[in-house]
Each structure stands twice: as C-alpha cells, then as structure tokens.
C-alpha cells in the first residue's frame, strides 16, 4: 500500500457522517462574503451598497495574480460593505448581501461550455481564474496560479487528492460518491491542459466504497487512463508532499513546488469545481461542508451557499447536543478554532466541527522527556522536540539549522506528545518572528 514515512493514526470519527448523503441547504436571508477567502492578496469589491446582484455574479475582483474572484451565491441586494469577523478571528472587509430568495442566475462564465478539448490551456486556466477557484481542501491556494506553471515545467502527473486524512471530515468522501462525474470531468480537463493521458486519484483505504465507485467511473473513460491509487490510512496522507511521494515515489526537495517534481495536485472538490466552471460556467458559490463533532445533535454533510453563517448551518441541521466549548473550521488536526458562530462559510470550509467541554480539554504542558515519539511521527523528518525548545528561547539560528520552514504544521508531533507540549504553536510563532526579522533586514 502506498504511503509515506512517519505520521500518526488519530481516531477517524468519520462514521457519524460517512454514510450521510449530501443534503442541499437553502441559503439564509443574509450572506457574508469576506474579501479574503484565499491565500494571496484580498479581493477588491466591485459592487456598491444598494446594487442588485445575481446568483453567480462577481462581487469582488482578484486583487492581484495570487488572489481570487468572489461571486455572490444568491440573488439579492448588497446591504453593506463593512468589517465583520472572518473565521480566522480577524475583523475584515466583507460584502453583505440580502437574499431575495429568487436565485436569479447570472449568465455563465465567459467562454465556458462546449467541448473543452477545443479550448487552449490558457483559455481553460482563464475560466478557472474567472470562477474564483481555490484549493477547496482548506489551503485555499488560488488554483489558476497552481495551473500556470513556468514554461520549463514538465508536468507528467495530475494527482487528485481524495485522501481526506483529517478526522471527522467526510465532504470529499461524499463528493466522490455523489459527484463522481464532475470529478472525472475535472481530472480530464486537467489532463487536457497538460496534454497527458494518465491521471491519478489518491484515496485512503478507509473509504473502500469511494475507491470502488471511483474505479468503476474511471473504467468508463475509454480514451484516457485514470488510475485510482489506494493509500494507507494514515495522517497526514493528504499533505501535498506526502501524497506526491505516496503516488509517484518522488520526494519534493525542500523549498520546491509540486511542478518542480512534475506534479499538479488538486483536492477532490477543487477538481469538481474546475469541471463545473469549464463545462457549466458556474463559479464557486457552493461547497460541501461536513458538520460534525460531539456537540452536534445530528452530524451531516451539507451543500451550502458560501456566505452562510456557521450558526445558520448548525441551527438548520438540529443544533447542538451539549454545551459547546470549541468550534473548528476544518478538521481537528489543522483546522482553526473560530471565535463565534456568526462567521461565514468560506471557500476553504471543508467542515465545521463542534466539540464539547470534554473533548476540548486543555491539558497542562510538562517537560519534554525526550521520548522521541515526535521525531518518529514527523512526516517531514524534522526534530520537533528541538524545534519546540529552540522556539521557546527565540534561538533563530538553531531554528533555521533545524529547517523550521520545512515544517508543514500537520500537528503529528503535538498529537503523540506524552508531555502535551504545543510544538506547532511554538513553531508557527517562531516562523512569524523569522519572517518579521527577514522583513526588517530587507528594510
């Protein structure tokens, strides 16, 4: 079975939602669109307060090359453009739209539809850019940037990431079962962009139904080869470098990007979004969200409009089952804790996990006993124990020698630590300090 070195085996917690079909949720009356839902420059609002907007209409324009457009997920009126809370806890400019309930559609994206094989790669990438597609797994890196590889790049592997190694999350799992054709269509488009006959979909073996279902769908494609690659169920199997290694056996050199190893990696829902944009002219206005956690009364997989608030999703699906102590956007390994439930679903919201007091217990840190479990678990082969200690004493020189910037912040070290140390938090803080120092040195 293909996999990588290191990693951990957290409890999956996926049974609560793995067999629940995706349920369409009606949009609420008010939708909130933060201008930054992606990595890169924030988008710039291109509507004014009072404007009537249509479902799928662009409301904010990408603020640079590494940025993404934002579209309204409903038809209605722009009620305000003001600062609201982003899931990451920062108050940020948001476009607030009042839903008129008509779902009046904007015209499809320019140049979309028809036979994609007649389009040039540049034309397709242009549609992807226009559609505002970003990495929907949670990283939210703009997809058109990923696809715009330098001329010297020799791409020979298109890899679709169906690992979904985060506990609780099942949105990609359900997408593979229920939006199979979109995913196959998406990978064919990606293969067409790079002139390839082979594409790869990596799926963890805790989803045998998805593996079987995708394999069957892949067999129906007669002129191209889509390979379904079962992967060992191990966290972080879906991390880009670990996935590329598991599928191709290539180790990305430190500081390089996937294209330098001949690979393009996209998440399942990203891949389906590419198909929907190119074939149907739909921008990103919906996404599949797994609603789970021990504080959720009835866990489910929902297809929701972007901009819906967390509280709306939770109320509509049955509310809380107990006092909630912590709510996460994304899974418990790499997801972020949100400040309150008024925050909206954004492009990277793969899941909402609400945890009760017992499972959000904050354990006291104790001294490192040098058990080396973090060293064994680190998928990047770093020494988290030493990084943690160097970060606590602000020893920047040592941190660089320990390759702090190779850390992917997957949290495997903190998960296995018997002393309950918070290595990732220390490493992340130290990374920020290093960036500030580098900036100061330049200035």
């Amino acid at each position: 079975m293909n996999t990588f070195h290191g990693g951990i085996h957290p409890d999956g917690h996926k049974t609560a939602t793995a067999s629940k079909p995706i349920c369409d949720l009606k949009p609420p009356t008010e939708l909130v669109f933060p201008v930054s839902q992606h990595i890169g420059a924030p988008a710039k609002p291109c509507v004014k307060v009072g404007d009537r907007v249509l479902m799928g209409q662009k409301i904010a324009e990408a603020g640079g090359f590494v940025s993404a457009n934002i579209h309204s997920s409903v038809s209605g009126t722009v009620k305000a453009i003001e600062n609201r809370l982003h899931p990451n806890g920062v108050s940020m400019e948001c476009i607030i739209i009042e839903n008129d309930g008509l779902d009046e559609k904007a015209p499809p994206l320019e140049n979309s539809g028809g036979d994609y094989t007649k389009k040039t790669p540049a034309e397709i990438i242009d549609i992807v850019r226009e559609a505002g597609i970003v990495g929907m797994g949670g990283a939210t890196f703009p997809t058109h940037v990923k696809l715009s590889v330098p001329k010297e790049a020799k791409i020979d592997h298109i890899i679709i990431n169906g690992a979904e190694c985060e506990p609780y999350l099942t949105s990609d799992h359900r997408a593979m079962l229920e939006t199979t054709d979109d995913i196959i269509g998406g990978i064919l488009i990606l293969m067409h962009i790079f002139g390839l006959n082979d594409g790869y979909i990596g799926i963890e073996d805790n989803k045998p139904d998805a593996i079987a279902h995708m394999s069957e769908a892949a067999k129906k494609v007669s002129d191209k080869n889509i390979h379904i690659v079962p992967l060992k169920t191990k966290y972080p199997q879906g991390a880009e470098k670990q996935l590329i290694f598991a599928v191709t056996g290539r180790k990305m050199a430190p500081g390089t990007l996937p294209w330098q190893s001949g690979c393009i990696v996209n998440n399942i829902d990203t891949c389906a979004s590419i198909f929907r944009a190119v074939a149907n002219g739909e921008p990103v206005i919906r996404r599949i969200v797994t609603l789970s956690g021990d504080a959720i009364a009835s866990p489910s997989n929902l297809r929701v409009r972007l901009g819906s608030s967390f509280s709306y999703l939770i109320e509509e699906s049955g509310g809380f089952s107990q006092d909630t102590a912590k709510i996460l956007m994304g899974g418990p390994m790499m997801g972020m804790a949100v400040p309150n439930t008024s925050v909206p679903v954004i492009k990277g919201t793969s899941g909402i996990v609400a945890l009760g007091a017992e499972s959000s217990k904050f354990e006291q840190e104790s001294a490192c006993i040098r058990c080396a479990k973090c060293v064994y678990a680190c998928p990047m082969n770093l020494q988290p124990n030493l990084l943690d200690m160097a970060a606590r004493r602000d020893d920047m020189c040592t941190l660089e020698k320990l390759y702090i910037n190779d850390c992917i912040e997957c949290g495997s070290c903190a998960f296995v630590c018997p002393s309950k140390r918070r290595q990732v938090q220390q490493i992340k803080t130290a990374k920020a300090k290093l960036r500030d120092l580098a900036k100061a040195a330049k200035a």
């Binding site: 804790a337 001294a367 770093l382 020494q383 998960f415």
Partner: protein, 328 residues
C-alpha cells in the same frame, strides 16, 4: 451554548499518551523481574525494592516542596527510578545504603539538573555507581539463592561468585537454563533473563521502546564476546553464556532505552546501542571487573548530546548538495 468559545492553536485533538501512562507501563514491565527476584533471593528483595521506591518518591516530593515546585511524584518516574536502582543492587544490601542511593539518584542525578527530562545520566545507574564506589564490599557480596536473608537486619551469610566472575576465572559450570531462569547470585532484578524478556516484550507491544536498541546492544555483546571472551583464542567465546549473565538484559531492555539519557534520533539510537555493546565487551573481556553494562551505559549517556547532534535525521526530500549544484 456557551457565549465564549475556546480559541486555541491546532491540533485540537491529542493521543492518550501521557508520562504517567508510559511510566506505569515500565513499572508493569518490571514486575516479572521483581517476582523472579523475590523467588530467587527471598522476600528481602521486595523489602529492598520497596525501600528504594519509597525513598525515591519521598525525595522527589521533599525536593518539590522545598523548591515550591508543583508536586511531580504523580508522573511515577521516581517509582521507576527506585525499582531500577533496587534491581541493580544485591538483595543483601543494608537498607540504609539503599536509602542513600535513592536520595542520590533523585536529588543529585535528577533534580540538580532540572528534574524529569533534564538529567544527563541514568539516575538509577549513576546511583549504583555511587554505591559501588562507596560501599564496594556490600555491593559485590552475592548470596547463593536460597540463603535465608533477614528481612530488615544486616545479613551474615556465605557469598558466592556471579556467573560472570566465574566465567572470568575459567569456570562455567552454570547451565544455560540456570542462567536463563536466573537462579544464581547477582543483583535483584538482573538475574532472570526470562522475566526481563517478558517485560521487554510488553514494552515493545505497548510501543514504549523500539526493538533496535536492545537488539543491537545484545547482538554486539554476543558478537564481541564470541570473538574475544574465549579461553581458547579468537572465536571461542561462549556468547550465549555472556548475554544471559550479568546486567545485560536489564541494561539493554530498561536502561539503554531510557528516554531522557539516550539519543532521540533513530540513527543516534543505533550508534548508542553499538557503543554500549562495544564498551561492555571491552570491560568484560579486558577490564579488571567482570561486569560492564552499567558503566557502558553511563559512558554512552555522556556521549548522547554529541551523538544526537551528529545523527540528525535527513529532512524529507533532502538532496546531496553536490547534485543540487550540478542541477543548477
């Protein structure tokens, strides 16, 4: 729901490992050897062990009180130190010496350097070395199994040679079975290879230790003693006799795998185990002292920071600098 949510950094979930659970596992793994010790040396073995465990725990508690630090005895590491120290002394050791050894292990070796995770040498082994240097006779008086030792007073009985001392003088009339079961003179917890192996298997199953250190250590001693420890020249050594005797099993399974005082890097652990094996052979074959396990581990403890520095794992995707230069 609560108005206030917890906002903390990821990860938001953790495994159920804890220091006290790991220490409890080590204690459980040491129980077979303790039972064997009690069977072989009588209940005095239990009294010595309890003395060490209590003195270690009380020392730690008093230290924490004196320094106004949170009480750390509940992590059970002092219990492990006490058991390991007791396993490294003869059952006949006067109890007051056991108390002094325990205080030395916890206060001087462990707490003076910062407590759990910060000591550079194994507390139990350092205390054993301290006792050996201070009361050499009491530490090397071995009683024949079956001798009735008084439970609390000072014993007065005839001593016998350990298998390793016997081997050194050319006398190997212990059968492998006797050695394996441990029915011979020696320290409380070191004689029964069988009991120690059971404990080692438990630690492996619970993933507290990894196989590489005990395996490489024992294999190195086996090879070294086979080559050099024979009385009839190269390759005539009785390696099986050697690995079943002395403190090797105890050292390889429980001491050379100690977290704090051994390298955290996988390659470093291999170097550490090899070093322990080589020094043990050097002491056993050419040293003036039949047993070399505790000193070999202590010496390698001192080398641990250096080994760790030189054996840092290669980061994921590492390419040799030469290749990089030619690619550019």
């Amino acid at each position: 729901m609560n108005d206030k949510l917890i906002v903390s950094h990821s990860p938001h979930t953790a495994g159920n490992e804890s220091i006290s659970r790991i220490m409890l596992d080590v204690i459980i793994a040491l129980v077979p050897a303790l039972i064997a010790g009690c069977i072989i040396f009588g209940m005095r073995a239990l009294i010595v062990t309890l003395t060490c465990v209590l003195s270690c725990t009380i020392s730690e508690y008093i230290w924490c009180r004196l320094l106004k630090k949170p009480n750390s005895t509940h992590d059970l590491s002092a219990v492990v130190t006490g058991m390991l120290l007791a396993f490294n002394v003869p059952a006949s050791l006067p109890l007051w010496m056991a108390v002094i050894g325990s205080v030395f292990a916890i206060i001087v070796v462990k707490q003076f350097f910062g407590g759990i995770g910060h000591n550079f040498a194994n507390p139990a082994l350092a205390a054993r070395a301290f006792l050996l240097a201070s009361w050499a006779l009491a530490m090397t008086t071995w009683y024949t199994p079956g001798t009735l030792l008084p439970l609390f007073g000072s014993p007065d009985a005839v001593s016998s040679a350990t298998p390793l001392a016997a081997y050194a003088s050319g006398n190997t009339n212990y059968s492998y079975l006797t050695l394996f079961l441990g029915n011979h003179g020696g320290c409380i917890g070191e004689t029964s290879s069988l009991a120690l192996l059971i404990g080692g298997a438990y630690l492996l199953i619970r993933k507290v230790i990894r196989l590489r250190v005990p395996l490489i250590y024992i294999a190195t001693v086996a090879l070294g003693t086979w080559m050099f420890a024979g009385h009839n020249g190269f390759g005539s050594g009785d390696w099986l006799y050697q690995i079943l005797s002395g403190g090797l099993m105890l050292g390889a399974i429980f001491m050379a795998t100690d977290y704090t005082t051994t390298p955290t890097t996988p390659n470093g652990q291999i170097v550490f185990a090899l070093g322990c094996g080589i020094i043990t052979v050097l002491i056993r074959v050419w040293g003036g002292y039949p047993e070399g396990v505790s000193y070999s581990i202590l010496l390698m403890n001192i080398a641990t920071p250096l080994i760790e520095k030189l054996t840092a794992p290669k980061r994921f995707g590492y390419v040799k600098p030469k290749k990089e230069a030619s690619a550019q």
